[in-house]
Symmetry: none
Subunit: 99 residues, 4 copies
C-alpha cells in the first residue's frame, strides 16, 4: 500500500481520483494531529494537577520528596523493590559501607 500523505504519482487512476486521495490524506493527517494534540493537552493538564496536589501537600507540611517516594514504591512490585534493595546492599557491603 502507498504511504499515506505521500505524493507519488499513481500509475493508474484519473487525476481527479489522485487529487481526492491527496486531499483526503491531508485531512486525515490534520485529524490525527489534532486528536493527538488534544489528548496531550489533557495529559499536560493532569500533570499540572498532580503538581498542584504535591504543592498543596507541601503547604500543609508534608515532605514532597518523601511523598513521591511513597507513590513510586506503591507503584512498584514488592518483589522488584526487594531485589533492588538486596543488590544495593550487596554493593554497599563490597564497598565497606555496611558492617
Amino acid at each position: 500500500m502507498a504511504t499515506a500523505g505521500t505524493s507519488e504519482t499513481a500509475v493508474n487512476g484519473s487525476r481527479d481520483e489522485e487529487k481526492a486521495t491527496v486531499s483526503f490524506g491531508r485531512d486525515q493527517l490534520k485529524a490525527f494531529i489534532e486528536r493527538i494534540e488534544r489528548l496531550e493537552e489533557e495529559k499536560k493538564a493532569l500533570g499540572d494537577d498532580i503538581r498542584d496536589v504535591y504543592a498543596e501537600a507541601k503547604g500543609t507540611g508534608f515532605d514532597v520528596k518523601a511523598l513521591r517516594a511513597i507513590v513510586r514504591m506503591r507503584k512498584q512490585d514488592l518483589n522488584e523493590r526487594k531485589e533492588q534493595e538486596a543488590l544495593i546492599e550487596t554493593y554497599m557491603h563490597a564497598l565497606g559501607m555496611l558492617n
Copy 2:
C-alpha cells in the same frame, strides 16, 4: 512549622488532641496519596490513548516517526514563541527599559 507526619510531642495539648492530630495527619496523607494516584491513572490512560491514535494512524499508512516529529515541532514552535517573548522582556530589563 512542624513537618506533617512526624509525631513530636506537642508542648501543650492533651494526649487525645495529639492522637487526633496524628490520625488526621494519617487521613490527610491517605487523601493526598489517593488523589495523586487517581490523577496518575487518568494521565496514564491518556498516554495510552495517544499511543492508540499513533497506532491507528500507522494502520492507515502514516509514518509514526514523522507524525511524532510534526507534533514535536508544533510544540517547539509554541515554546519558542513564548521563549522569545520572555527574552525580549529580559533584554528590555537589562537595557533598563522596564521597571
Copy 3:
C-alpha cells in the same frame, strides 16, 4: 555604574570614547560567552565520560541503577539519608504499608 552592553548616551565624553566603550562592551561580552561555552563543552564531555563508565560497568554485569544509588548515597550525608528514610517509613506506616 552603567550597565555594560547598553547603549545609553553618556552625558559627558566624546563620541569616540563612547564608541570605544561600546566596542569594548561587545568584545567583553563575546569573551564571557566564549569562556562559558568552552567550560560547558568540557562539562558536557565529562558527563559523557560518566555515562560511558556506567555503560562499561553495565557491560561487565553491574546493575546501573544500583550503581547510581550507591554513588548517590556516598555523596549524601549519613544523617540526611537516615532522616529521609525515617520520614518515608513514617508515611509508609501511616498508610499501612509496613507491619
Copy 4:
C-alpha cells in the same frame, strides 16, 4: 549472564576460584565507583567555574539572566539545526526516498 556482584555458586570451579571472582568483583566495583566519583568532582568543578564567570560578568555590569538567555539560545540554534537535518531524513524516509 550472571549479574556482577551476586554470589551465586558457580556450578564448576573450586571455592578458591569463586573467592577470587568475588574479590575481583569487589575491586572492579570499587574501581568503577571511584572513576565515576572522580569524574563527577571534575564536572562539579567546571560547574563552579561557570558560576564564577557569570559572577565576574555580573561584576562588570552584565545582566546574568540575559547572558544565560544568550547562551541558551545559541545552544538551541545548534540543536535545532541538527533537529532539522534529522527531520529531513525522517520525511525523506516517510516519502520512500530513502532506504
